[in-house]
Amino acid sequence: MSDRPVFADGLDDIAQEFLIESYENLDELDRALVALEREPDSQPLLASVFRTIHTIKGTSGFLAFNRLEAVTHVGENVLSKLRDGELALTPQITTVLLQMVDTVRALLASIETTGVEGDIDVDAVSAALAGCLEPAAPLVPAPRDEVEPAAAPEPVAEITPEPAPEPVAVVEPPAPVAPLLAENSTDHDEENARRSVADSSIRVDVGLLDQLMRMVGELVLTRNQVVQYVGETQHTELQRASQRLNLIATELQEGVMKTRMQPIDQVWSRLPRVVRDLGAQCGKSVRLVMEGRETELDRTLLEAVKDPLTHLVRNAIDHGLEAPEVRTAAGKPAEGTLSLRAYHEGGQVVVEVGDDGRGIDPAKVAAKAIENGLVSRDQVSRMSEREIADLVFRPGFSTAPAVSNISGRGVGMDVVRTNIEKIGGTVDLASEIGMGTTVRVRIPLTLAIIPALVVGQAGDTYAIPQANLLELVRLEGEAAESGIEHVAGAPVYRLRGTLLPLVYLDEQLGLPAPAEREALNIVVLAADNTHFGLVVEEIRDTQEIVVRPLSRQIKHVETFAGATITGDGKVALILDVAGIAQRATHQTVAATAARMTESERSRTTETTRLLICQVGADRRLALPMTDVARLEEFSVDQVEKAGNADVVQYRGDLLRLVHVGPLLGMGSANADAETYSVVVHRHENDAAVGLVVDSILDVIEEEVVLSAVGARRGLAGSAVLQSRVTDIVDVPALVAATQEN
């Protein structure tokens, strides 16, 4: 045997797959060839036959099965001529092709049992196939008569004058090599060796798998109940049995889940083609790097991430990577790199799509967002770079200067995010100008059974998916009272120096608040790039839960993601964390959280000089010193009326007064004061305005970690300054508000 053994220990995965696929293809080929004989002009049939042989040829070349490649190569030549109409299909040719199929089958059998092609003769069939290519022979009508009996059971001998019968003979015993193996192995091993690859794996109806999964879900629930009841008894035998049940159910669950797992390569495998075509279309040369293609996830999820991933890849090539000349000018290799990475992390699958392109320019994104009317200039000026980059996920956003047929229609990233969030995943984006962009998609391993935190509220049980859970905070006694601060009416908790907006579960559910809370349980949750604290009455335990959809009567309640049955046999509703975040807080929380993560990640915020003043009972306001021209004090008698506005004569002009406290709804502590403390503000070329505050406290220089809690017209948000929650005044917006009135 001249062939080297390709596989040291058994067949490796690629060859295994190749064999399974090829066997199936060959069966199909037999049928197709026979059908083809009846309708020799059928282009679809010819094309399908051609494709099959082509595939086998390609893969065998790749796996270095030279004989297989040789014989399929000639076969392919014949088929391509048939397909192109240069050759007409005669029964003779059909027979030769069928012989080729048999030879291929024999080769595959040999590869399967021994790992090598063996000494199966392919020359005869190759010659016969080559013979078909001889232009004169098959095209003349004469052979037609000659082959008429070809339909008879024994055609081989008749048609092919030369070595045709030979290969057939060789093919007949498909496993002449098996005895070689059997010599030094037991009967059992021999049996295994003979067991064809096709026999060791079967195709299973996906519906059946889904049904199995559902039943395992039931079993897990029942197991949970049994374990709970048995835990309360003293019966040792019963406890032992329940432990066994517990173990088996877990293993069964893992096993069934595994049957539904497929490598992400199923989705990735077609991306090289997409990348190549797109690159050519955009005039960019792209190198595709894939890491972790064997990473597995549930097939339903695989299906769900297919489109978003393709979209991200398209985006990266179309928007991310620059044209080669631009890259060379920037000192980068002309060829752009698109990297796909997949890995498991913390019970989730992470898929990254990264490019080394131009990165996202916040300025451009901001300009585009304003142009598209998504945000106002005012809002943008208050956003962090990260928040601005996040704007690309807003519906209706598009940075492509022109609408190409690849992307730039403004439907894209928002759909990506929506689709990923639909399956309980998250999307975030990291970008550096000139260096590239990476989009990170996190998805759960499976949707059917998830770990959850079980909490109690007003006697009922609710489940919170652990994927959303960050940490638990419990405030007891004094802390439960004093720990909660309010920013413009919104409750917040200071979690390690950053403000965590709080949402009360009872309020969200429309339930009455408990009479008194001796302790406060805060479940810190993340959803949609948002952090917030959900205040619940009671934290019970964690459980594996089986997610059930809600019936149509309650499907639309966005607070709930589904229902489940807990260990005690009761039905519990599963909270939809993203839904609650949206319902409770709209944009506020999102903005806060984005700022919080920003401040956590990069403590680069510069210190700002701020004027601290007081209004109302004890509300602290901070004004950036850049907005302050002078500080003045006027006696109340100096105040006069001009129209509806209070004015004072100031430096030969009228100074319009703005009462900040009442304007912001914070009231004024000293309505009957004799003097007004006034902050004079002058905005560019506008007339000066006097902001009346109750008292001026301090000028400080501090790093401002702005939180959007309490943000509204005139207030940029709030921050912890001098260890106290202080609202930051957006002076231009505040003044603008008074001018409209």
């Binding site: 039931e218 629930l221 029942t222 009922d460 049980t461 559910l509 429309g510 339930l511 059930r548 809600l550 019936s551 149509r552 009567q553 309650i554 309640v557 607070t559 709930f560 229902a563 489940t564 049955i565 046999g569 009761k570 039905v571 519990a572 509703l573």
Partner: protein, 150 residues
């Protein structure tokens, strides 16, 4: 309505109602249930029916009737729809299975008004009483948002 049918009958307040036995999965006594905050008013809660989560719909609320008085507990009539989704109808008392004659069937009497009119397909004239046939599809889609409770 032109086939003789068997109806599973029950009462809600003074109404004598029925649904086709083919639609009924089972009849079970009152089950403890989990309330669904924010849900439409007709949804009384979710019950665990041997591992299956079933939404219980309160027919009294759906028909704008006062709640059941005293300690009496409603009975679950679990029906299964074409989409294989099971819901339970909470009724006061379960009755017999009644054989009906299509000749006795009539569309809802004009005197029938209010929510019952929307939910009833028609009536069978039985010797002593009228048996109203519920339109289960409509019953399941009956959405009376709990606007007042939020």
């Amino acid at each position: 309505m032109n086939q003789p049918r068997q109806l599973c009958t029950f009462t809600v307040d003074d109404l004598y109602l029925g649904v086709d036995v083919m639609e009924v999965q089972e009849v079970i006594r009152y089950q403890e249930m989990t309330a669904v905050p924010l849900a439409p008013e007709v949804v009384r809660g979710l019950i665990n029916l041997r591992g299956q989560i079933v939404t219980a719909l309160d027919l009294r609320r759906m028909l704008n009737l006062p709640p059941l008085e005293g300690d009496e507990l409603p009975t679950n009539v679990v029906i299964r729809d074409g989409a294989d989704e099971a819901v339970s109808l909470l009724v006061d008392q379960i009755g017999d299975v009644v054989d009906t004659d299509p000749a006795d069937f009539e569309p809802p009497p004009p005197t029938l008004s209010g929510p019952a009119r929307e939910l009833v397909l028609g009536a069978y004239k039985l010797p002593h009483t009228l048996l109203l046939v519920l339109d289960t599809e409509r019953v399941q889609n009956s959405q009376r948002p709990a606007a007042a409770r939020v």
